[in-house]
């Protein structure tokens, strides 16, 4: 360690190697990922989200929703994400290519939201989500500052929340979502993993077929997956 410049060079090389390996390596693999064109549906997936939903993602990011919510569904045999109804397939890198700020999150104090608008049987609608943001729940904070409590002038606003009981606005007043609340909800409603990419289908379909509950999904996906087997393998590595 007596040789100063060599010591600093060693440090620098160590850092550059890890940067090249982790960041550039994954960029080389995924940086040019394109939407998947499906001949039978005559369309490419994922589709670009609307402008209002993109603005909503900024609201989601600046409020720090990712502190409690993830947006990544894991595969069926790895955790209970799919059993909990958060999605019917695992999230893949292609899901996020049009998102300027993907919100993968790292903590599940609250449920996963990757497929909020595609949940079956009952996905929430805009009115549900706005009310939830305004009223909160036992375990969810309220975001009243995203709403405006104002006097009704003339006709009631079309966007005003339809609240009843103790939550209702005082007489002559209405609760109107601000633009930020509406963008946030538009974003949440754009979270949908309905399209089943070839690389999202479970791996090792043939070997796993008929092996218990976790593989039920595999068997279902086996037929369409066969044609994309090679592509899938490339993506999963």
């Amino acid at each position: 360690m007596k040789n100063g410049p060599l010591f600093l060079l060693g440090l620098f090389v160590a850092l550059v190697l890890s940067w090249a390996g982790v960041v550039l390596g994954s960029h080389a693999q995924l940086g040019a990922l394109t939407p998947y064109y499906d001949d039978t549906e005559s369309g490419a997936f994922p589709s670009r989200s609307s402008g209002v939903a993109t603005r909503g993602q900024l609201v989601y990011a600046d409020l720090g929703c990712a502190a409690c919510h993830t947006q990544q569904v894991r595969r069926a045999d790895f955790g209970t994400d799919q059993e909990r109804g958060w999605g019917t397939r695992q999230s893949v890198a292609r899901d996020y290519i049009f998102q300027p700020k993907p919100q993968l999150g790292a903590s599940r104090i609250g449920p996963d939201l990757a497929n909020l608008a595609g949940r079956k049987p009952s996905a929430p609608d805009a009115e549900d989500l706005l009310k939830f943001l305004y009223l909160g729940s036992q375990n969810h904070p309220v975001y009243k500052f995203l709403f405006e409590d104002r006097e009704i002038v003339g006709q009631r606003a079309a966007t005003a929340l339809k609240l009843t009981g103790s939550a209702a606005a005082s007489a002559g007043h209405e609760i109107v979502p601000t633009e930020r609340a509406r963008s946030l909800v538009a974003y949440l409603l754009s979270l949908n993993n309905a399209y089943d990419y070839p690389e999202a289908r479970p791996f090792a379909v043939a070997a796993a077929a008929g092996h218990g509950a976790a593989e039920k999904h595999d068997a279902k996906a086996a037929a369409p997956a066969a044609g994309h087997a090679e592509k899938k393998e490339g993506e999963k590595k």
Partner: protein, 471 residues
Amino acid sequence: MTNAPTTAEVTAIDTQSRCPLLFLIGSGIVWLVVSGILALITSLQLQAPHFLTDCPWLTPGRAQALRETAFVYGWAANAGLAVALWVLARLGGEALRARNWLFFGALFWNLGVTVGLIGIATGDMTSFALLQLPGYVQPVMLFAYGAMAVSGVLAWTGRSTERTFAAQWYAVAALFLFPWLFSAAQIVLIWAPVRGTLQAIAAGWYAQGMWTLWLAPLALSGAYYIVPKVSGRVLPSYEFSSLGFWTLIFVGAWTGGRHLIGGPVPAWIATLAIAACALLIGHYFIVFLNLRIARCGRGTAMAFILFGLLAYVLGGMLDALTSFRTVALKTQFTLVAVAQQELALYGAASMMFLGAIYFLVPRLTGFAWASGGLISAHRFLTRLGLFLLLGGLAIGGWVQAGDLLNAKIAFADIAGHLKPWLLAVAAGHAVLLLGNLLFLVNFCRSACVCSTTAPATTLFRQPSTLEATAS
């Protein structure tokens, strides 16, 4: 009274470096208190979700980002730099040079943190863990850091002896690597963001790199200096220390994919991280081998450093264990991961910083700490607080992990099961905050004494054996 300087030890090296280093330490402690208040708010919000949520600046997400930022860029950065620069000056045998650069760098760094916190509170945070600082303050902080590092570089290049010591390697590595790490992360995350989930990969690389290449080396530089100094013994198996050092530097940042197991990223990212975590065990083993004599030392500084070392080694083992896919399946996304982060940032790094501060402040001021009672109280409260905090998070996280893996348990019930443990976490944060307030009072009193009185050097002679070895 412990850790008072001996006459032989109070030298021009320390007294001339006093002003900028005390400024760094003081601002670090203030940020520690600020982050403690924010941590208390965050833990109460987990307990009672409606607490303070009418205040847009303190939504749970923002409060957590504020807390992390104040802790890492406020407390750990300031305290760690003070320790590393002091070690470099001591082992270089010269007083710190470029002290004005250091002082103004520190000033702008702290201004950057302040503006960054205001930015986060008003909605400009990025969404990357441990890098939530708004994009516009990051270049300022990079330059401020560069200005502070000038002192360290000069202390390294202008050292009076050719031979170098492990404490210096760790200090120089941390000083030199952080700007590269920080700027590379800024480029791929803020200025020219990579696409989609690549952002999560790059953010993971930064977060792990910041821990393994910056905060851990800063903490270890203090420990490698102080442990032999106070225990009065030569470090055992010292010849392995360079292997331990280079293992950390070469392997550390590869652990970035630890939190992305099972996520929408290529599987090799996680596999590499698992292998890297296993390799790092070698580093933790060597650190333990070298610094195990910390248990022989007495005094406040050594008590904190010993705690930090044990937490550091334990944390490394737990990182390796929880990176295995079968374990990660349980612990991922739960409070166990938070517990590991607290164990590393608070239990390991901060405790070593605190120990080093207890050691170096009397040497900078020329006086013993103002109050021995406050030291004992701080030591007790910090241990108690960490015990409550880490215990609550770990047990709560384990309960949460079991519940999350059972799809029949509804989310509302999981929150219910967590409540008692989250109460322990909140209590832990409250105790830590109290302890840190006492520490701040003690520091202010000690620093004021030195500014009003001429240093007396006849105090508290320690046995001359304590002067042995190492430097």
